[in-house]
């Protein structure tokens, strides 16, 4: 036992000492921060728009529109009375980037509901939605007033709908929006894929190193190959958990500063709302960690076996492709899993031990997974780990002492049977 402990410690300490570990520990949160901030930046691109409201109406409607737009957060609107050459000179201002655009209002707005917006950028849904909203509201008010309805009553009757989405998880309603569920599922999937692969490959590299340096002979003469393999897997696993702790702390720090950060980046109020911290419950965290550990054990056992059957790093990189492929199946299905978490395909993926480590957490974050399914998936994963580790240990045992040609499938089967 003390020997396994020494193997675990060696794997842990040597990795923690490497520059790469700290590099990725620091870079992780920055990377995911960027994944979050960049879309926000795009959403908030341009910030406020300076526009003119060319008023050709006969009443006070133009003034009201300008005021209504100013009330919102997107436009800084100035009313310009219509006249000869006004449109031309405004067009020139837009061309000189003194102005973002202008809105032309005639009485037709109230009569038929048509107006014209000319601007350097008319593809922003946000801008157009805001213009339409303000115009529709004010035009309706003007029409009602013309029919003799009390303006105060109109004001009270008009209701702006803001649709809030909340996900139902189990039978409790969470404060989570659709975008947040999706983002959470997506981020979890990416992190699981990356970390399982990276640390699985770490285990493989460590096995190959011991094999190529033949130091494995000394080790195996003092502890059983299975103990050595377990020590290795546990040691690298401990590093990955430590990595998560660091990432968690880093992410927390970034999020606590996000208001300040986004302000620096020039984000507007809407932009800040686009991305709020997804609702990370204890249950979600538990599911995430269980599947991470399960996936890590499953895959690192396979990676250890791959390392043992290869005689150098290059060979190992080739031999690991089938293992990588297994994990990729779930990864590339991620969009399908989030869009349609209840489909037969999604359920199947989340039950198969090789795909479950990514598929189940993604489904969990995107929808509500019945407890029975979660239990079945975890049970199958545990059984898968036992079976795969058993086989991997046998391949490992024979493989680490082998030199020369990589075994073919037939020989592998013989190794497993002979172990």
């Amino acid at each position: 036992m003390r020997k396994i402990w020494a193997v675990i410690r060696r794997e842990f300490v040597e990795r923690i000492r490497s520059k790469w570990f700290w590099f990725s520990a620091l870079l992780g949160p920055v990377f995911f921060g960027a994944m979050i901030v960049v879309p926000v930046l795009f959403a908030g691109a341009g910030g406020t728009r300076r526009i003119a409201v060319v008023d050709a109406t006969t009443g006070a409607f133009g003034e009201r529109v300008a005021a209504g737009l100013r009330h919102g957060k997107i436009f800084r609107a100035t009313r310009v009375p219509a006249g000869a050459g006004v449109v031309d000179s405004l067009t020139q201002l837009v061309g000189a980037k003194q102005l973002d655009g202008f809105l032309i209002l005639t009485d037709a707005v109230v009569e038929t509901g048509t107006a014209e917006y000319r601007a350097s950028n008319v593809s922003s849904f946000r801008d157009v939605a805001e213009l339409q909203d303000v115009l529709a509201r004010l035009a309706m008010a003007a029409r009602l007033e013309r029919q003799g309805v009390d303006p105060a009553l109109v004001g009270r009757a008009q209701l702006r709908i803001s649709l809030e989405t909340k996900k139902i998880s189990g039978s409790t309603t969470t404060g989570e929006s659709a975008a947040q569920s999706f983002a959470l599922a997506y981020v979890m999937g990416v992190v699981l894929f990356l970390v399982i692969t990276i640390y699985g490959v770490n285990v493989m590299g460590s096995v190959v190193e011991e094999k190529t340096t033949r130091i494995v002979e000394v080790l195996v003469s003092s502890l059983r190959p299975f103990q050595l393999m377990m020590g290795k897997v546990l040691g690298v696993g401990a590093v990955s958990l430590f990595q998560f702790v660091l990432w968690g702390l880093g992410a927390k720090l970034l999020l606590s500063q996000r208001r300040a950060l986004l302000a620096d980046l020039g984000g507007v109020e809407e932009a800040r709302q686009v991305f709020q911290m997804p609702h990370l419950t204890a249950a979600t965290l538990g599911v995430f960690l269980s599947y991470f550990l399960g996936g890590f054990f499953l895959y690192s056992a396979m990676y250890a076996a791959v390392g043992a059957m290869s005689s150098n790093e290059q060979e190992a990189r080739q031999a690991q492709q089938p293992v990588m492929f297994l994990l990729l199946v779930a990864y590339v299905s991620m969009f399908g899993l989030t869009n349609n978490p209840e489909s037969t395909y999604a359920v199947t993926l989340s039950l198969i031990p090789f795909t479950a480590p990514i598929a189940m957490p993604v489904r969990w974050a995107a929808s509500t997974v019945p407890a029975g399914e979660l239990g079945a998936s975890l049970g199958l994963l545990a059984a898968g780990i036992v079976a795969v580790t058993w086989m991997a240990a046998r391949i490992y045992r024979v493989g680490i002492l082998m030199t020369g040609k990589r075994p073919n499938i037939k020989e592998l089967v013989r190794w497993i049977r002979a172990g």
Binding site: V13, E14, E210, T212, E217, S221, V398
Partner: protein, 321 residues
């Protein structure tokens, strides 16, 4: 039997239809330097790996210290230097030695102190915080040797300990081995370099193609394996030497150069009679020397040219472990 540190009893190991070690029995008494000799592919490394419990014999048994238990269970009492050297390249020297000592069950703190002392002693004190791959090959050999013996084993198993060493380091290694024996440690080492074995070994075992050819104390082997060995130098006239040497009842083997001849007498032939016969036939002798056969000669005689290279194997490939 109780004094034997290591006993192999009819140990056999087969790889894919090819027998690497075939019914090998040997016994290593306590406190000796024991040589395992054999040509390339004889099965020395395979035998050592079975002793170390790295691979299991298909038949037969390995018994260490006269006690039950596998090599792995006794690993704290055995030091092992594998044939192919290698260390964790990225680890720091001291950490590495401590780790390998921990594998042998040495407590961490004690391992650290002893490793530092050993490094100091072999002139590597300043290197203890360096990474292994910054060391020269000779230094790495020293580091590996330290980790072989740091846990003060009773039995040290060295597979080709002198391979790839320069003359200075060969000397260092020889001194280390002799010093270990002075401390009462039993040493088993494999080699195919006979001169070294002859100088170092108290006992040895010669194997070829996985089979034992002879074993025992070096002096006994020399006495029993060959008859008298003669070196004869002529001073001009060889007399009737040619006829005398041709007598198979007297001379078993002959290497005649005309003015110089090396011969091996038949076991019951008397060298004095041959001398008298030569002189009376008119031969003038410059030299007539009875010598001990070299281990090298015994080895060649025993192994034979055909056994000096391993049999080509019909099915190369994976082992049937």
């Amino acid at each position: 039997m109780s004094s034997a540190v290591l006993v192999l009893d009819r140990v056999t190991k087969r790889f894919a239809g090819h027998t690497a070690v075939d019914g090998l029995s040997l016994s290593v008494p306590r406190g000796v330097i024991y040589g395992l000799l054999g040509p390339n592919g004889a099965g020395k490394t395979t035998t050592i790996r079975m002793i170390m419990d790295i691979i299991e014999p298909d038949e037969g048994s390995v018994r260490l210290f006269g006690e039950p238990g596998t090599g792995r269970e006794h690993s704290a009492r055995v030091g092992y230097l594998p044939e192919e050297r290698g260390l964790y390249r990225k680890m720091r020297v001291l950490d590495l030695i401590v780790f390998l000592a921990e594998m042998k069950g040495v407590e961490r703190r004690r391992a650290g102190a002893q490793a530092a002392a050993w490094l100091e002693r072999l002139g590597l004190g300043a290197w203890r915080w360096r990474r292994v791959d910054e060391l020269s090959k000779g230094m790495q050999q020293k580091v590996q040797f330290i980790s072989t013996i740091l846990h003060q084993p009773e039995l040290v198993v060295l597979d080709e300990p002198f391979a790839g060493l320069d003359p200075v380091n060969t000397q260092v290694m020889k001194d280390a081995v002799l010093e270990l024996r002075r401390d009462g440690v039993t040493i088993l080492f494999s080699t195919h370099i006979m001169e070294q074995a002859e100088k170092l070994c108290d006992q040895l075992c010669i194997i070829a193609r996985g089979r034992k050819l002879v074993d025992g104390a070096v002096a006994d082997i020399k006495r029993t394996q060959t008859g008298h060995h003669l070196v004869i130098g002529f001073d001009g006239a060889p007399g009737a030497a040619a006829q005398l040497f041709a007598d198979k009842r007297v001379v078993r083997k002959l290497d005649d150069y005309g003015q110089y001849a090396e011969l091996e007498l038949a076991p019951d032939a008397d060298p004095q009679r041959l001398l008298a016969a030569l002189v009376s036939s008119g031969a003038r002798l410059a030299r007539f020397e009875l010598s001990e056969p070299s281990l090298h000669k015994i080895f060649i005689d025993l192994v034979g040219p055909e056994a000096a290279t391993p049999e080509a194997r019909p099915h190369p490939g994976g082992p049937r472990a």
